[in-house]
């Protein structure tokens, strides 16, 4: 299990920091061995990494990749949903709209951001920002990291399903480039509602699936505790999705997960984002819409 390996790496690194005696050579070797053990990860390991508390969150990506970020709040109908963060920023000096699920990195943050589970207001805010991006001709970059849309009473009363459906339909017609980056866990329609894009990039240890492994196990076998088994069957890793031609590119992560060396990850993502965005910027709005339609149209086509 990756959890044990990471714990041991932490212990070894702490020992390394303290010790500069004869143990050093051994500890260094041990660390290298442990890191090598992070190369072959099971889908369940990747689910663990995708949900890691210290995995970079949307704020970190915005700080690293963009400048001059201006947050825009509220859906203009009912309320501000902090589980989605969005606004305008500069990317390489050019304005873009950035939208993504927001998770906290501690309990307090998670309570505030509802564990990254948006209600309909969050999706409607996202749609508002996307339509605005289209109006001003800005590309849209979304970051996906959610256990799913919030299954609550008010969320249903205000039309969770309708809000997601509307986003899917409207995103498919946006006449500006849309790039989605799956950074953590992407589960169910709650993830897809920010994910109808021209290009989908996915971090090496991110996962993307029809439902969380727990939900999947509880629907199929009425037993959420069988989520490990579900992980193995669901084909939810970046590699699986690349082979299934759902995503366009895998962004490699540092050994042991993004949380171990976020800077290296940001640099790589920056490079790939730029490479993917450049050709899209040169396309006309109608060409983008036609291309995006085709991209989804062929999934499951005979």
């Amino acid at each position: 299990m990756i959890r044990d390996i990471l714990n041991e790496i932490d212990a070894v690194e702490q020992a390394l920091a303290r010790d500069d005696g004869p143990q050093r050579a051994y500890l260094t070797r041990r660390r290298a061995d442990l890191l090598a053990g992070c190369k072959a990860l099971t889908p369940e390991d990747r689910v663990f990494l995708a949900r890691h508390t210290h995995r970079p969150k949307i704020d970190a990506y915005i700080n690293a990749l963009f400048t001059d970020f201006f947050e825009q709040k509220g859906d203009r109908q009912c309320r501000e949903d902090p589980s989605i963060l969005g606004g305008v920023a500069l990317y390489k000096g050019q304005p873009v709209t950035v939208i993504g699920h927001r998770k906290g990195s501690d309990l307090q943050g998670n309570l505030k951001y509802n564990f990254g589970m948006p209600g309909p207001e969050g999706y409607r805010k996202a749609l508002r920002l996307m339509k605005q991006a289209e109006k001003f001709g800005r590309p849209i970059i979304t970051f996906i990291d959610t256990p799913g849309a919030y299954p609550g009473l008010e969320a249903e009363a205000r039309g969770q399903g309708e809000a997601i459906a509307r986003n899917l339909a409207e995103m498919s017609r946006l006449e500006v480039p849309v790039i989605a980056v799956v950074t953590g866990e992407g589960s169910s329609g709650g993830a897809l509602a920010l994910g109808v894009a021209d290009r989908i990039l996915m971090l090496e240890n991110a996962v993307y699936s029809v439902l969380s492994p727990e939900g999947f196990a509880s629907i199929l076998w009425k037993d959420a505790s069988r989520h490990g088994e579900a992980c193995a069957l669901m084909k939810l890793t970046a590699q699986d999705l690349y082979e299934g031609e759902i995503i366009d590119e895998i962004i490699p992560e540092p050994l042991g997960g993004a949380q171990r060396a976020p800077e290296a990850l940001f640099a790589k993502l920056d490079e790939r984002l730029q490479a993917q965005l450049a050709p899209l910027r040169r396309m006309s709005g109608s060409a983008l819409v036609a291309q995006r339609y085709k991209k989804y149209r062929r999934i499951g086509q005979e």
Partner: protein, 297 residues
């Protein structure tokens, strides 16, 4: 309902369609031994199949709506002899090679006589042509995988290409788990098809029936120009059990039912089954000769 004279001048395929519809009305895959009686799951009162059929499978005693088969519903909606099926033989595959899924699919086919959880057809309603898609909850809970997504998308594209209005009766437990991410992507595919159809000025009537949940609610079901619902249908994104577990309290009576959705502004009108055809015909008439940007469609 079906007269001898009509069957003489019926279109090719009409016979098979009528047979399928009648079989579904009898509620069994074995037409040679129809059970005589049907018991209402709600009030437990029994009635003969003939009485149930006369009441369009709304309980003659308590008024509870029973789910009905796709062909049977089409026979209620379409003018006699106008039915023509679209992509009849299309069915889903097993993209994840999920253990036991192929066998389960084969079993569902045998049980229901359907190839997928949706039937699509082109026909006439009181003389007005339309594409009508009906989901069938008996097949795999009406769940949406690649087969359903593809059939729905093809029907939408057919309506767009022939400039016909589109009516979809939804009934679904949501995304089909066994097809994983490929079933999730059908939400994007069908919604994109509806969006393109809408941009061309097409009329889409979404008719929600029991149950419409999950990925179908969160895609094409919620994108109608006009949204109708059958009385008492369960309609929502998350299932009631999941919500109760999440918020740790009992849900109020009537939550996520058609009437609740109407009250919260997500349904234009609740239409009883007995008025289904007349209402659809009326809506089609009201959208006759509509134009978009001054150009006749």
């Amino acid at each position: 309902m079906i007269h001898l004279l009509d069957s003489i001048r019926s279109a090719p395929g009409q016979k098979a369609f009528e047979w399928k519809a009648r079989r579904e009305a009898q509620g069994t895959a074995q037409p040679w031994q129809p059970p005589q009686f049907f018991t209402c799951p709600k009030c437990q009162r029994r009635a003969t199949r003939a009485v149930w059929a006369e009441h369009l499978y709304v309980c003659p005693n308590c008024g509870q709506y029973q789910p009905i088969g796709g062909y049977y519903r089409l026979s209620m909606v379409l003018d006699h002899g106008s039915f023509r099926e679209l992509n009849g033989r299309m069915h889903g595959h097993d993209p994840l090679h999920f253990p036991g899924y192929s066998e389960k699919l084969a079993m569902q086919k045998k049980k229901t006589g359907l190839d997928e959880a949706v039937v699509s057809a082109v026909g006439r309603i009181e003389g007005q042509p339309a594409v009508v898609v009906v989901m069938d909850s008996r097949f795999f809970m009406g769940s949406m995988g690649e087969g359903v997504g593809e059939k729905v998308t093809l029907a939408v594209e057919y309506a767009a290409a022939h400039r016909l209005p589109l009516i979809i009766f939804t009934a679904s437990g949501g995304a089909r788990m066994q097809e994983g991410i490929f079933s999730l992507m059908q939400m994007a595919k069908t919604s994109a098809a509806i969006a393109a159809f809408a941009e061309k000025g097409g009329l889409f009537i979404s008719y929600l029936t029991h149950p419409t949940t999950g990925g179908v609610t969160a895609s094409f079901a919620s994108l109608g120009d006009v949204t109708l619902a059958e009385p008492g249908a369960l309609i929502g994104f998350a299932g009631p059990r999941v919500i109760e577990q999440t918020i740790g309290q009992k849900l109020p009576a009537g939550f996520q039912r058609s009437e609740y959705l109407e009250e919260h502004g997500f349904v234009d009108q609740i239409v009883p089954r007995s008025e289904m055809k007349a209402t659809l015909a009326r809506l089609l008439r009201l959208h006759q000769n509509h134009t978009k940007g001054g150009k006749r469609l």
